[in-house]
């Protein structure tokens, strides 16, 4: 009794927090439909597979591979190449795989500094001998190898070609199900080649029901510094909502409940650098010099503008929280001075 061969599904977890896997499980009982439709070829989070199993598959054996996580180690990179080879359709799933996300913020510093804060300076770490991960360790039995920790975090598409990108940190369950359902039912997908799926084409503001007015911002607030008006656009109230510069698809979940959009769905079509784009938009609506600019000298004006800008905490972490690896910045110069103390403010 041989049922028709089911298509093969893989989900892999590179450098990421695990939220993407949870989000897939959050599609609820639809997961049973997924199980019915696919054979699982690799999904370390839910079943036990070995790399050698994957290596054993013929090329293109996997029909759909959802690859989440950034490329941070030699193992991540190796798996990226392997899964590219074995998959018909490779999806950069979630913000880490598509844009670098939180791991890529360490591109603002160096590997050495990252190790120092993780293994040496961290208050909850007890490491009196100052042991740091070594790719190769000699032991009486021979050599032990662990993956090499890279200096720079990359996105999946900076390492191998990807067919689709599914943004979000994590991608929202309804969007995940919509994409899986489309695949299960054989609905037409956009042409591959890095096309965005499972997200909107307009900015988050489109989905946000807050009232929007012309904007003039006199100072910025961090979330704990202000109780926002429940009906008005957060950005207008001085809360650095990235909704204006972020792809919709989430349903504006955060701004709807009074939290600023942090930008996890990434930039819109045609935008090269989400952070720069946001900065340029913000710079355009900062209110300084109280209208009448004639007579104010440039230094005075610069001071006024500086006063407003000083209320922005952690600019790189705010504007590039998700998009550092894919931005024009990419990373700090690894030989530059900024690298040692962590680059951004």
């Amino acid at each position: 009794m041989t049922a028709k061969e089911k298509p093969k599904l893989a989900m892999y977890w590179a450098s990421s927090c695990g939220g993407c896997d949870i989000s897939v499980l959050n599609i609820g009982d639809k997961i049973l439909d997924v199980d019915q439709a696919f054979d699982i070829a690799l999904w370390p989070c839910v079943a036990d597979f070995k790399i050698k199993d994957v290596k054993g598959y013929p090329d293109g054996y996997i029909d759909l591979c959802l690859f989440n996580g950034a490329i941070r180690t030699s193992e991540n990179e190796e798996m990226a190449h392997l899964l590219r080879q074995k998959s018909k359709v490779l999806v950069a799933f979630g913000s880490c795989a598509s844009e670098g996300c939180i791991p890529a913020l360490s591109n603002l510093t160096t590997k050495e500094a990252t190790f120092k804060s993780s293994y040496l300076d961290n208050p909850s770490t007890d490491n009196p001998e100052g042991v740091l991960p070594q790719p190769v360790t000699k032991v009486p039995e021979g050599e032990l190898h662990i993956p090499v920790f890279y200096n720079t975090v990359k996105t999946l598409d900076q390492v191998v070609p990807v067919d689709y990108v599914m943004p979000g940190c994590p991608p929202e369950p309804p969007q995940i199900w919509a994409v899986l359902e489309a695949i299960i039912t054989g609905a037409e997908l956009p042409a591959p080649g890095g096309a965005i799926i499972g997200a909107g084409t307009v900015a988050v503001c489109e989905e946000c029901s807050r009232e929007k007015h012309e904007k003039e911002i006199e100072r910025f607030y961090r979330p704990h510094e202000i109780v926002p008006d429940p009906d008005v656009c957060l950005l207008e109230q001085g809360i650095m909502c990235m909704g204006i510069a972020t792809r919709a698809g989430c349903g504006a979940l955060c701004p709807e409940v009074g939290m600023r959009c942090a930008g996890c769905y990434g930039p819109l079509d045609g935008i090269v650098d989400q952070g720069a784009n946001m900065v340029s938009a913000i710079a355009s609506v900062v209110k300084a010099g109280s209208g009448a600019l004639a007579g104010i000298d440039e230094e005075e004006l610069a001071r006024e503008i500086g006063k407003v800008m000083d209320t922005i905490e952690d600019p790189s972490g705010t504007f590039y929280r998700f998009s550092m690896a894919h931005s024009l910045l990419t990373r700090v110069r690894s030989n530059g001075d900024g690298a040692q103390d962590g680059g951004g403010r």
Binding site: S74, V148, Y150, N151, T152, K154, Q158, T201, V202, A203, V204, C205, E206, K212, H213, E214, K215, E216, C233, L235, G243, I244, A245, A248, L268, D269, G270, I271, V272, N277, M278, S280, A281, A283, S284, V285, G291, A292, L293, A294, G295, D297, T330, R331, S334
Partner: protein, 668 residues
């Protein structure tokens, strides 16, 4: 991308060829991808140079053209014209500036040649992404709005009206005339100001082609060149213009007088119902609501009781009028510098320190003293007068610029004093005498010959603290006489402060209404300081007279006429063609975030509340690019400045720089 680009490298005589190896640059350009032909030529802008381009377009079928020469400000139009004549869309052309940006800024031949290549490479990479654009035709409404009825606005209005075109002249004060109406004689010819001005004011009042809206202000302007709608607030005069005959009985009967700070510059008084001066146009009085006894205390109505035509109307309300015009001429004039700001000259502290405007009123036969030069007590004739030039001008602490008219009117004052008080001594304290202008120097020589004492030095202070017996009871002007290198103290009876010209206090607000820019001194910014001094960057709006910068009456008149001529040429053409380099919003990509909404200096962006998207009104947009840069959704495109075009140009300019590795190689 497969285009046939023609590259033309101009020698500009030796301007470029003297520093840049133009032959080498042309040869190199010919080797670049997409380039079908590259030539160098002595003067590309000459008719032969242009023909070269035209010929190649026709014979070689060029689809794009790059000229490497001077600044596009100089000749972009020239070469666009050449392309168009040969049948190529003019926007498929790009200019590389290898003169101002290159040959003129260095003597290093090698570096200059290298930079020329980079600039040309940028232009080639950019031009292949150019798209053909069509200019926008706009119809011109033949009516014109002139704002401000000083001499500049009057000149503009009369030129247009005499040419057969209708003008709406909006003046804020009860009468037109502006500052010129306050003056007595005018330098250098000493014509009586009123004698030459009032006939023109009268013409304005009578002209069938002029609708005069006095005591009115423009509150809002919508639309764009050819089709502006201005909303004008006609303030309540409390006098019915239809019934008033201008007989003046109300003024005579009004029991209340106040100091006239405007027309009499504080030197005289006026009634609460008043016309600013006898030859006012229009001649209907205005009730000054704030000082009117009836409005303040509910009783009086003397004017109403005596008016023979029942023209007084205490119930009158402000009126909002909408005017549709094709062009706008701003002539809002200047504010005199406030002499109180320089405390050490003692204006407002010491009675016999006067401003120049007060002095104009004093020497005016129709003024409060009937032309007698007297001290503040209204009786005593001064025996000595000091005139201090450059008050508030050419001074880092106040206005750095020269007000241009003060030297000349100060000399005029010296002359008038000699004429009226032959025995009085006059001392002019000056920094430099600026008498540039037709017959101005001659006038200066004449005043010198009349015996004025010119002391070269900025007056340090005016004091009434005497040190010597002959200073007792006098005002003492202290100054360093830089010609003899000595401090001098000159005791005088009267001091006149020659206050400068500055931008109107509300110039920025007015600029905002009309979508103009102000410079750092507050004056409106012209399109080009030399070649286009009366037009502004906002299509269809001109600026004339002292709202553009300090100038005298002849220049104000000339500017008024110049703007009128430009407007008439636009009206007679019927339509104007506007640059298509403008922004547009892709509604499908717009999230309605409203970031762009208040950015546009020309108010070109509107937000549609119903479908929550923004739109650029094409005719209003001037292509500045502010909104393009700001839109976080990438929904706004600037035609001729698309991301693709700009990035390609940058990549081209950096042709010889190592390709940056987006992701650095791993050290493993």
């Amino acid at each position: 991308m497969d285009e046939k680009v023609g590259v033309y490298v101009c020698h500009c005589g030796t301007n470029i060829a003297g520093t840049v190896d133009v032959e080498e640059v042309a040869t190199w350009s010919g080797e670049q991808p997409n380039v079908a032909v590259a030539r160098d030529y002595k003067f590309m802008c000459s008719s032969l140079g242009q023909e070269l381009v035209e010929q190649d377009i026709k014979e070689l079928g060029l689809t794009r053209v790059v000229v490497a020469a001077c600044s596009p400000h100089m000749h972009e139009k020239t070469f666009r014209g050449a392309c168009e004549r040969a049948g190529l869309n003019p926007y498929l052309f790009e200019m590389a500036n290898i003169r101002e940006f290159d040959s003129w800024v260095t003597d290093d031949r090698e570096a200059a040649t290298h930079k020329a290549k980079s600039l040309i490479k940028g232009a080639i990479e950019r031009v292949v992404h150019h798209q053909p654009l069509e200019p926008l035709p706009v119809e011109i409404n033949p009516n014109t709005l002139v704002v401000g009825g000083g001499i500049a606005g009057i000149s503009a209005a009369l030129e247009l009206a005499d040419g057969g075109f209708h003008v709406y002249l909006v003046e804020r004060e009860p009468s037109i005339g502006g500052h010129m109406a306050q003056l007595d004689k005018t330098f250098p010819t000493l014509d009586c100001s009123a004698c030459i001005l009032t006939p023109r004011m009268f013409d304005v009042g009578q002209h069938p082609n002029i609708t005069l809206l006095s005591y009115s202000e423009v509150e809002k302007v919508d639309g764009y060149v050819g089709d502006f709608t201005a909303t004008v607030r006609k303030k309540a005069r409390y006098v019915n213009e239809e019934l008033c005959t201008g007989c003046g009985i109300c003024v005579e009967k009004c029991p209340q007088s106040v100091v006239d700070d405007v027309f009499e510059a504080g030197l005289g008084q006026r009634k609460v119902v008043y016309t600013p001066f006898p030859q006012a146009v229009p001649n209907y009085p205005v009730i000054d609501r704030e000082n009117c006894i009836y409005f303040q205390r509910g009783k009086c109505k003397a004017c109403e009781i005596f008016c023979p035509t029942e023209a007084i109307d205490f119930e009158q309300q402000d009126e909002l009028i909408e005017i549709e015009v094709g062009c706008i001429i701003l002539a809002t004039g200047y504010d005199p510098f406030d002499a109180r700001r320089i405390a050490r000259y003692g204006y407002g502290q010491m009675a016999n320190v006067f401003t120049s405007l007060e002095f104009e009123r004093m020497v005016n036969a129709a003024g409060p003293t009937e032309g007698r030069i007297v001290l503040r007590d209204g009786e005593t004739q001064p025996e000595s007068i000091a005139i201090i030039h450059c008050v508030g001008s050419r001074d880092q602490n106040y206005n750095e610029y020269c007000s241009k008219v003060c030297c000349m009117y100060s000399l005029k004052f010296a002359h008038l004093v000699h004429e009226r008080l032959p025995n009085a001594e006059v001392y002019n304290f000056y920094i430099d005498i600026r008498s540039a202008g037709k017959r101005y120097e001659e006038f200066y020589q004449r005043v010198l010959a009349e015996g004025a004492n010119l002391i070269r030095g900025r007056a340090a202070e005016v004091t009434d603290v005497a040190r010597l017996p002959d200073e007792e009871g006098k005002l003492i002007v202290q100054a360093e006489d830089t010609l003899i290198g000595q401090q001098r103290r000159i005791p005088v009876d009267m001091v006149v402060l020659s206050i400068g010209i500055q931008a109107r206090h509300d110039a920025t607000e007015v600029a905002q209404i009309f979508g103009l820019g102000c410079d750092f001194d507050g004056f409106f910014i012209e399109r080009h300081p030399k070649l286009d001094p009366v037009f502004t960057m906002t299509e269809g709006i001109s600026i004339v007279g002292t709202c553009q910068g300090p100038m005298d009456i002849p220049d104000s008149v000339a500017q008024g006429a110049a703007a009128a001529a430009r407007v008439m040429s636009m009206i007679t053409q019927g339509t104007v063609m506007m640059e298509p380099v403008r922004a547009s919003i892709n509604a499908d990509q717009c999230s309605g975030c409203r970031i762009c909404n208040n950015l546009c200096p020309y108010n070109a962006i509107v937000f549609h509340e119903d479908d929550e998207v923004s739109e650029v009104i094409t005719a209003l947009c001037q292509g500045c690019g502010s909104c393009v840069a700001a839109c976080p959704s990438g929904a706004i495109t600037g035609a001729h400045f698309t991301d693709e075009q700009l990035i390609s140009q940058v990549v081209g300019v950096l042709w010889d720089v190592r390709q940056p590795e987006l992701v650095p190689a791993e050290e493993g």
